[in-house]
Subunit: 82 residues, 5 copies
């Protein structure tokens, strides 16, 4: 009985961890998607500003990537918790 | 009784793992979709900037792909958990 | 009693697996839909850039397809779980 | 019995922590995504205002990053709670 | 028995605290994102009004930041509650 309820708790944690990681991937997808779309369209409009656009694109995409990977790791910790 | 409640916990974890993997696929779909749409439209508008656009497209798409695959693997771990 | 609770747990896992696979299909549908829409419109505007547009279209669609198939397989594993 | 209900409580906390971290990543993704999209498009329209645009972009993105990282850490504390 | 039910209550509180902090980060992300996007686009259209735009941008972003940080701290207190 003891071990089984412990397992039930682990099931709940794994449930939340996987869903949380999925939500973080949605955030990263929408955010970096918007930036990438804007960047390629901007390069098409102003090809000579390409280096400046790429620098800003990488900077903001890296900020989103950092938070999203942090949240995915939080979800992974919940999945792998005993 | 013990084994069955253990199975119930596993069922909950598998439920969350599959839903989490699906959510991650939504994120990757929207994000890479926006980037791909912007890229092909930009190439149509400015065909001579094609190499630069493709480089930026692959860079941002790879960032999204990384987070999404990470989240899908978190979901897969929850599905395969005992 | 034991077998019935085991069946309930399997039902929960199958429920989540089917929903997760459906969510992944939504992601692939929206993403590849955006890319395909952009590609055919771009070819209509600039028919001579058709080969370049097709290459980029296939590349981004394949990235989405990879994540979505991975998530569908995670859902399938949850459905087939004992 | 005592330890197992304690574990059940931990499972609930881990569930919420992972989902909360995922929600925070959605917020950061949408917010920084909007800013980054606006910034690269603005640089394409007015390349000579690039330094001023970048300063404002970093300022607002840092504000969002601060709140989101704070919320992810709150989720991580819930995941790691005993 | 008393202590364990107390622990179950703590799990519930941590669940709500982490989710609440995540929701606050979504609010801050969307809000500051809209402001930042509008600001950089406005500077691109009217570069000589840059100082005035920046002052208003910081003022409104700080208002959102204040509320969001307050809510994240409320969530953090719920996570750290004994």
């Amino acid at each position: 009985m003891l071990n089984t309820m412990l397992q039930a708790a682990t099931g709940m944690a794994q449930f939340g961890g996987a869903v949380g990681a999925g939500l973080a991937a949605i955030g990263a997808g929408i955010g970096i998607g918007l930036i990438g779309k804007g960047a390629v369209e901007s390069i098409a409009r102003q090809p000579e500003a390409s280096g400046d656009i790429r620098a800003n694109m990488i900077l903001t995409a890296a900020l989103i990537e950092g938070v999203a990977l942090f949240a995915v790791i939080a979800g992974l910790l919940a999945v792998l918790s005993k």
